[in-house]
Each structure stands twice: as C-alpha cells, then as structure tokens.
Amino acid sequence: MKTTALLGALTVAGLSAGAAAAATLDDVKARGHLNCGVTTGLAGFAAPNANGVWEGFDVAVCRAVAAAIFGDPMAVEFTPTTGQTRFTALASGEVDMLARNTTWTFTRDVDLKFDFVGINYYDGQGFMVPKSLGVSSAKELDGATVCIQTGTTTELNLADFFRANNMAYEPVPIETNAEAQQQFLAGACDVYTTDASGLAATRATFENPQDYVILPEIISKEPLGPLVRHGDNEWGDLVRWVLNALIAAEELGITSANIDELAKGTSNPEINRILGVEGNLGEMLGLSKDWAINAIKANGNYGEIFAKYIGENTPIGLARGLNAQWKDGGLLYSPPFR
C-alpha cells in the first residue's frame, strides 16, 4: 500500500519531468505547433471568441511566436491554466511558454526556475466594489469580504496590504476569474481584487458595468509578461525577441498595413534588420529570414494589439498609461535590433 502510493507519485513526477528536456524549439518544430498556456478566460487578454478561436492581448503573443516559427499564427494549441496550475504546466513541459498575465517576481524567476522574457503589460493590483457600497477608498475596507484568486501574487499583496493598514478581512479563495465574477455579482464578497487590467476586463463583461467602481488605490507593482522554463536559453531568446519585435515595430512605425511595403527595403537599417532585408537575425534565432514579418503580421505591432483587444475603443477601455512607448512617456523600451 505504502509503496504503491510512493510509486504513483514518483511515476507522475518522473513522466512529467521527463518531458521538460532542453531544445524546446526542436520539439515545437517537430510537433508542428506551439503549446501555449493562457488563462481560463479573461476578456480582452485571453478568451475564445464566438467561433471558439482564442484571441486577446496575451494570446496575441503566442500567435506572434507561432507565426515567427511556422509562418502560421494559428499553429498554436492553447492550454487554459488557473493561477494554481500554470507553473506546474510550464515546468512539466505541458506548455512551451506561458502568456498568462503572470507577475514577474524574484522567487518565480530564481526559485521556481522560470525565465521571464520581458514585460508586455505594466500593471498594479486594484480593488473593485459595487457603487452601492458607498466606499471610495481601499482604506475603508476594514472587515470586508474579499474575493481573491488563489496562487497569485495578488493573494500575498492583499495579506500584506490589510496587515500594513491594520485592517481585518475575510478572504474568499476562488480558482478562476469566471468564478470570481459569479461570486462578486452574487454579492458573496464585497470586493474583488486582482490586477487593475483584469478588473477592467472583468467589469467590461458585466451587464451593468457602471454600477461598479474600481478604487483609486493601486497597492502593488505587477509587471506581467510571458515566461518560459529555465535552462533553454535559445528558446527564451526566441520568445523574448519576438516580443521585442512587436514593441520595436510600434516604435519604428511598422504596422500590419505597411509591413509588405517596408519589407521591400527601406532607408532605415534597423527596420531592414528586423524585417530580414539586411543581416541574418532570423538565422541566429534558428528561424527563417521573415520571422519578424510573420510575427508582426499575425496581429499587428504592440500598439495595434493593445488597441484591438484592450485599448480605449474596446469595452475594456484601458488607457496606454505606463504601457506607452518610452518616447510617449511610457515604460515600453525594446533593446536595439543589432
């Protein structure tokens, strides 16, 4: 009995760990598609559309990586992961990369053995309450019942915030955003807390969004970005530079509309290098010459992706804020393509 239990545990561990070998790019190429871990559904960031096709701000990163490798943005299989299952899914090799509004922290990078390849959304944790509650500041939440996704940094920030302000609260742990939404709307919790972008995205799907307010306090830094497993640097480089290509494309004015024109050659050598007209950057990554063209064509450059899925003209209506290009007063700054 005892040995059987041990055996089972070891089998699971052994099999799952066995898949997590290096040379991810070769595996992906041999498989013919990319395995990408996303959320179980967060409007604007990652959710299946009416036709069942995944789309969103995080999904676009996966699509760009797939396009860079295969030239086909649809060569992705999405694995919905919860806050608790995402890291196991990545560490075990079930997915090749995570693009799942995951906060870059020291322990996740160092102790959990992941590599964050960059930041695609600068976020912070906020609180959402029903207007009828009459609360205007997070400091007034003493004694409130708070819905919180388990296994997240927000869970830890929440504990720290209430502790630092000497307030009591009742956490209601939930697994997914959809569950949180249901609990919050049913009034089973007074407050829903997660990244401010997530709150905006969730509120956008409510029947009466105007009945809910997001409190002004942002209690943490939540730099969200795609991540890969530790130990396969080539693969990490690939995902990092696909993301950088999207950001640099916006800075340099490469859009999905003019990219075919620019790919014929321009007077700007950096654009030429990105688009593979000059140099052999693609080859260095183990990809074809037109890797960046495909990646940018998939959903447009960073700015286009932002505007399309979560920007001010979408129901989610997020301003660029910190996520503007450095030239426009934001924090987005891609290293040079050289």
């Binding site: 322990t107 697994e175 049913a186």
Partner: protein
C-alpha cells in the same frame, strides 16, 4: 530376498527452474521481484535526474518559511506571518473537521434512509429510493457546486438585513446569508470548567447506571426504566450547576456590523456546501449498506423473537441489529475512507482544506510540487489508515464471538 533400491539421486539441472513444479513458482516470484525493483530504481533515478535537469533540489525546508497568505477558516492561531507548515496544519484540521462532520451526518442520514427504504409504506420507501438513486448516481462534484450555488445565489446578502429585506431566523439568533450561516457561539466565563466537569461526571454516571441496570436484568430479570433515569441524570445536575455557578456559559449572538455580521459562529458557505454534499452523497451509499445488512438477517430471526414475546423495538435492537452490524460495518469503513478522501474536492468551492493550503497555494508559491504532493499523499494515507484501524477495532468488538 528383498532388495531396497535407493532412489536415484537427481542432479539439479537449470531447466528444472521452469519445468519442475517444485521450483517454478519460486522462479516466477524471483523474476517478478527483480522487475519491480528495476522499475522502482528507474523511477527514483529518473526523478532525481529530472529534478537535477530542472535545477531543483529535494528539500522540506519550505515548511518553515513565512507563508504570506491568509486563510479564512482557522481552527488554530494563524496569520500571514505564520509558516507554510502551520498553514498545512490549518488545512489538515479543516480537512479533519469536514470529514468528521460528514461521517457523522452521512451515517445518521444513511441509517434513516436505509431503514425507511424497507418501510411497508409505499410512499416512504419510494421517496427513499429516489433519494438513494438520485444522489448515488450523480457525481459528487456537481452536488458540491449545486449546494454552493444555492447558498451564494439564493440567500440574501448581509446588506439586505440592514434594509429589512431579510430577517434573522429563530428569534433573531441565526442569520442565513450568501456568505454563510451565522449562529450563536458559546462563550465561556469563570466557572465554565466546573460546569463541564459536572457534565462529564453525569455522562460517567449514566454509563455506570446502565451497566448496573444490565447486570440487574441479567441476574434477576427486573427491567429498570433506563431511558428516563438516564435523561434525569443528564439534565438535573447540569441545570442545578448552571444556575448555582451563575450562568458561566452564555451565547454570543451574531450582529450586523460594518460589511458583515460580527460575533457568533460563522459557518462559511464553502464548509456548509461541502459538508452537506459529502453527507447526502455518502449517506446514499450507506443507506444501501444498511438495507443490505438488515435484509441479510433472515426473517426467521424476527419471527423467533416475536414468538418469544419480544416487542418490535427490542427485536430490532437485540436480535436484528447486532447481526446486521456484522454485515454493515466492513463496507461502512470504506465509505468513511471515501468521504475523507472526497473532501479534497473542497477546492471547487474554495474550502481551505489541506489540498488547498499545502497542495494548492503553498506548492504554487514555493514551487515544491514533489515534496508537497508526497506530504499530501502521506497525510491522506495516514488519515485513512487511522480511520480504518479505529473502525476495525469497532468491527472486532461487534463481530460474531464464537464460544
């Protein structure tokens, strides 16, 4: 003249290991053993190798690090500054709590439903059949979620109590909200210890009296009114002590304050949903076990008891149940084990059991999947073994004693 011929001494040949029935079973066992050892060592070396490839070590030190997260239902002191080990302990206690509550309720429910299903009343027996088949044949997870949904969606929010849309039940002592049920909590004052001692003493008194009554009946045949006297022993001394000591135990009633009800005992929705779902689900299985146990006692036993002049109640208690229990208890043990292990479905409604704390948040924050899962498996294994040991002890005490 007789000649005794010695049996020809056979030399051992290798083929005998397969073709000779004396050795064949040994050979098979040796080969199987070798295969198992090989597989085990492969598993271990594979795990070690892959952990190394991931750059991870095998270390339980995380149990002593700061957890950093809060848990809503705590049976012992805990806050976000406590260690992961303590968080695991909080989870273990929550698991044991819901398992204990569930086992008790499921047994009571199961015995009722099992006996009533044998009722001669058509309606009653059909109703019980519907209960048993309905709950036994739908996955437990659905019941948990259904109960939880009813609690959160259909019950009023605490705010509704302020505006008068909802009212507290049972003379303003119990508040049923969409965040759980608030009930009065006992508060101990000076002298409560004495009262509890009196209670324990009266329980001991009842036990001693019952032994005496039984011996008296065995020796003289006189039957004392055991039930009434037991009740008197239980109630009278405690009532007197309660007022003499100046009401050392009072009730703390829940009151609306701030966002939620304050005071009283808060039974969270997650606990209630999990407890009810586990009880009715396992209760349906226990009902069938009880029914089978009662049916296993032949009708002749009842008729013989009646012929001796025993009344139906005594017949059930003295003749049928002791024999039925022998059939009921062994499968009942596995139902208790099932219930305990099924409580790990708590995660579906956010009940903070050991699967949610140690196996969920702690693993997620520390990245110690292998260690956490081994500990979790070890805990459930130990819990199950303890439950079956206790139940086996009980089983041994009621089983047929051959003299």
């Amino acid at each position: 003249m007789t000649t005794v011929t010695d049996p020809r001494s056979e030399s051992f040949r290798l083929s005998q290991l397969i073709y000779d029935t004396r050795y064949r079973s040994l050979t098979i066992q040796a080969v199987a053993m070798a295969l198992i050892v090989l597989m085990l060592s492969w598993l271990v070396s594979n795990t070690v190798q892959n952990l190394q490839a991931l750059g991870k070590d095998f270390d339980f030190g995380f149990l002593f690090e700061r957890a950093g997260y809060d848990i809503n239902q705590r049976l012992i002191e805990y806050d976000s500054n406590s260690t992961h080990g303590r968080a695991a302990l909080v989870g273990i206690l929550n698991t044991l709590l819901v398992a204990f509550l569930g086992c008790v309720t499921a047994t009571v429910l199961g015995i009722f439903a099992g006996v009533l299903r044998l009722s001669k009343n058509w309606l009653v027996s059909r109703l019980m059949a519907v209960y048993v088949e309905g709950f036994r044949n739908v996955p437990l997870l659905l019941w948990i979620i259904a109960f939880f949904a009813i609690m959160t969606e259909a019950m009023p929010a605490p705010r509704a109590f302020r505006t008068g849309e909802a009212e507290m039940a049972l003379f303003d002592t119990v508040a049923v909200t969409n965040r759980g049920v608030y009930i009065p909590a006992p508060v101990l004052h000076d002298g409560a210890g004495v009262l509890i001692t009196v209670l324990l003493a009266s329980l001991a008194g009842i036990w001693a009296f019952r032994r005496y009554a039984r011996r008296l009946q065995d020796e003289t045949g006189r039957i004392l009114p055991v039930g009434w006297i037991s009740l008197a022993i239980l109630v009278l001394p405690n009532l007197v002590a309660y007022f003499l000591l100046g009401r050392p135990i009072t009730l703390d009633y829940p009151e609306l304050g701030g966002f939620n009800f304050k005071g009283g005992l808060h039974l969270r929705n997650s606990l209630i949903a999990l407890w009810l779902a586990l009880s009715v689900y396992t209760g349906a299985f226990i009902a069938e076990i009880v029914r089978a146990g009662i049916l296993s006692v032949s009708k002749g036993q009842t008729e013989a008891a009646y012929a001796l002049g025993l009344r139906p109640g005594r017949t059930m208690r003295l003749v049928i149940l002791p024999q039925a229990l022998r059939v009921i208890v062994p499968p009942l043990i596995s139902q208790f084990l099932n219930l305990t292990k099924n409580s790990s479905l708590a995660i579906a409604v956010g009940y903070m059991d050991v699967r949610s704390t140690l196996g969920g948040i702690t693993i997620n924050q520390t990245g110690r999947e292998l260690e956490g899962m081994l500990l979790l498996g070890g805990f459930y294994l130990a819990a199950s073994l303890i439950i079956s040991a206790v139940m086996n002890f009980y089983n041994a005490s009621i089983k047929l004693k051959e003299r």
